[in-house]
């Protein structure tokens, strides 16, 4: 039978975060929504007080300030991803360790951090990490909120990267371990020279998915007073007179910013996913 029943196409179910047929349609709709909301807002503004600046003018005026916040979001996402990648790989290797003293705590930490919401981890880190620490040789070093938030965002991602690494190592056929062992490789050599190089390639799509999720989570930092894109947007709306007609265009603008940034990453991830799909 060349076509068995109930066979899932591997590329369809390889990842929960797979993208459907990607086009620029969605972006167009978002743009259209922004345009409609602006039109709507203008309409209301003219009905109320003709002299008032239209929502579009207000938004235009505040765009540099909002983009400044967005830059902080990008910075936090890069920093958190760098921490998460390095720490996640070590934690993942810790999970694979033969020593129970190392593997059990690694599994425990991975489990805990994977199963708690981002916002809860963010609250914990923001409230429990002091705002300045004493480093030997540097004296007191201040920890601004955004650095603490970056650290907080890296925690759930590093646990997931640890889990991805474990999954990738386990997906390598066991025969490779045995044959490498028969060629007198040590365990460390097998892991670093044979297994991991194959794993890293397989991990790239999942790694990028987590980057996208991380970038989408960074606006949460605004809840704790970090002046990121949402924080700046809300401050801008406040400064412009807290008019209700500003809400739709401003929030849609923020959504549009993220969409423009994340959507190409999603397309790229999906391409790589298909490229590296494990043939079977």
């Amino acid at each position: 039978m060349s076509n068995p029943a109930f066979r899932l196409k591997p590329q369809l179910c390889a990842s929960t975060w797979r993208m459907p047929n990607l086009t620029w349609k969605a972006g167009l709709i978002l743009l259209a929504a922004l345009a409609i909301s602006l039109q709507w807002a203008t309409l209301f503004a003219q009905e109320a007080v003709p002299a008032r600046a239209s929502a579009l003018e207000v938004l235009w005026q505040w765009i540099p300030y909002i983009l400044e916040g967005f830059a902080l979001n990008l910075g936090m996402s890069f920093g958190a991803m760098a921490i998460a990648t390095v720490a996640g790989i070590f934690l993942g290797l810790g999970q694979l360790s033969r020593l129970r003293v190392i593997s059990w705590p690694s599994r425990f930490v991975t489990h805990i951090l994977r199963n708690s919401p981002w916002l809860v981890i963010l609250f914990m880190v923001m409230y429990l990490v002091p705002f300045e620490i004493r480093l030997p040789g540097f004296g007191k070093v201040g920890l601004p909120d955004w650095i603490k938030a970056t650290f907080a965002f890296s925690l759930p991602v590093l646990a997931n990267i640890s889990e991805i690494l474990r999954g990738a190592v386990n997906s390598i056929p066991k025969g490779q371990w045995d044959s490498a062992e028969s060629l007198a490789f040590t365990r460390r050599q097998i892991l670093w020279e044979i297994i991991l190089p194959q794993c890293f390639k397989r991990m790239i799509p999942a790694w990028m998915n987590w980057y996208a999720l991380l970038a989408l989570a960074t606006p949460m930092a605004s809840i704790l007073g970090v002046r990121d894109v949402v924080g700046n947007t809300q401050a801008a709306m406040e400064a412009a007179g807290a008019r209700p007609d500003l809400l739709a265009p401003f929030y849609l603008f923020v959504m549009g910013l993220f969409f423009l940034y994340i959507y190409p990453i999603s397309i790229w991830t999906r391409k790589l996913e298909r490229k590296y799909a494990i043939a079977n």
Binding site: K9, G27, I29, P117, Y127, A248, Y251, V254, I262
Partner: protein, 248 residues
């Protein structure tokens, strides 16, 4: 609350200064319970609502009309590629403004509460992922099965409801479980629109009693326990319903 628990935590407070006030003060304990129950309601309602969105969405994606498919595609892309927190703010502040007010006995309140908006926005967000998962499950059901049902005189809707969907559901269970577990963690986001669930309540209690580390520990533990239990239940269902003879 049993007396010995209250006594234990009151003792802990006087001995060590660790103030788990929610476990030795009746008023705060009631607040804690209300927050916990609202959190659980929100989690369960969100999961169920996202499943409904997923089933209807997957059905709409297989529709003959190009416009419907186009709209579904756009919906999935927009909700997957924008921050869920901003989506929630948008739903609550922007769409919430257009919802009519109802008379609640002397004063007016919006027809959709903040709980309602949290449920709607999270359900639609999670649903965008479920649509995809169900669709890949539907595609995995072989055409010959559908043809067999057709030859037995089933109508199109009957085939979907009695043949394709149950099979697709069981095929897509592993992916679905993963997504539902990660969706169960998002209701803490409802904090931004002041839904008095666990995150919000514990933040209030810690500002009332200045016992930040203790309350953060309780919050952290609460979510880990709830999410771990939910994951265990879902995995149990997954094992019970797994199609025999496939996978490990």
């Amino acid at each position: 609350m049993p007396d010995w628990i209250a006594a234990f935590f009151a003792d802990l407070h006087t001995q060590t200064g660790l103030n788990f006030i929610i476990f030795h003060d009746d008023y705060e304990f009631a607040r804690f319970l209300r927050g916990a129950s609202l959190s659980l309601q929100l989690i369960i309602a969100t999961v169920v609502f996202s499943l409904v969105v997923g089933v209807f969405g997957a059905w709409a994606q297989g529709a003959k009309s190009r416009i419907i498919r186009w709209v579904m595609d756009a919906y999935i892309q927009i909700f997957r590629n924008t921050p869920p927190m901003v989506q929630m703010l948008f739903f609550y502040f922007v769409l919430g403004a257009y919802v009519p007010q109802v008379d609640a006995g002397g004063y007016y309140e919006p027809m959709v509460t903040s709980f309602g908006w949290a449920l709607i926005s999270l359900g639609i967000f999670g649903g965008a992922f479920n649509v995809e998962i169900f669709r890949s499950g539907l595609e995995a059901v072989p055409a010959s099965t559908r043809e067999a049902a057709e030859s037995l005189g089933f109508s199109r809707w009957q085939i979907y409801l009695y043949v394709t969907l149950p099979l697709a559901f069981r095929i897509s269970l592993p992916a679905l479980t993963n997504n539902l577990v990660s969706l169960a963690k998002t209701p803490s986001l409802a904090y931004v629109i002041s839904v008095p669930e666990m995150t919000y309540i514990l933040n209030q209690i810690r500002s009332d009693h200045i016992n930040v580390p203790e309350m953060m520990l309780v919050l952290f533990t609460f979510y880990i326990v709830v999410v771990t239990l939910l994951a265990a239940v879902l995995h149990l269902i997954e094992r019970k319903l797994a199609l025999p003879g496939y996978g490990q």
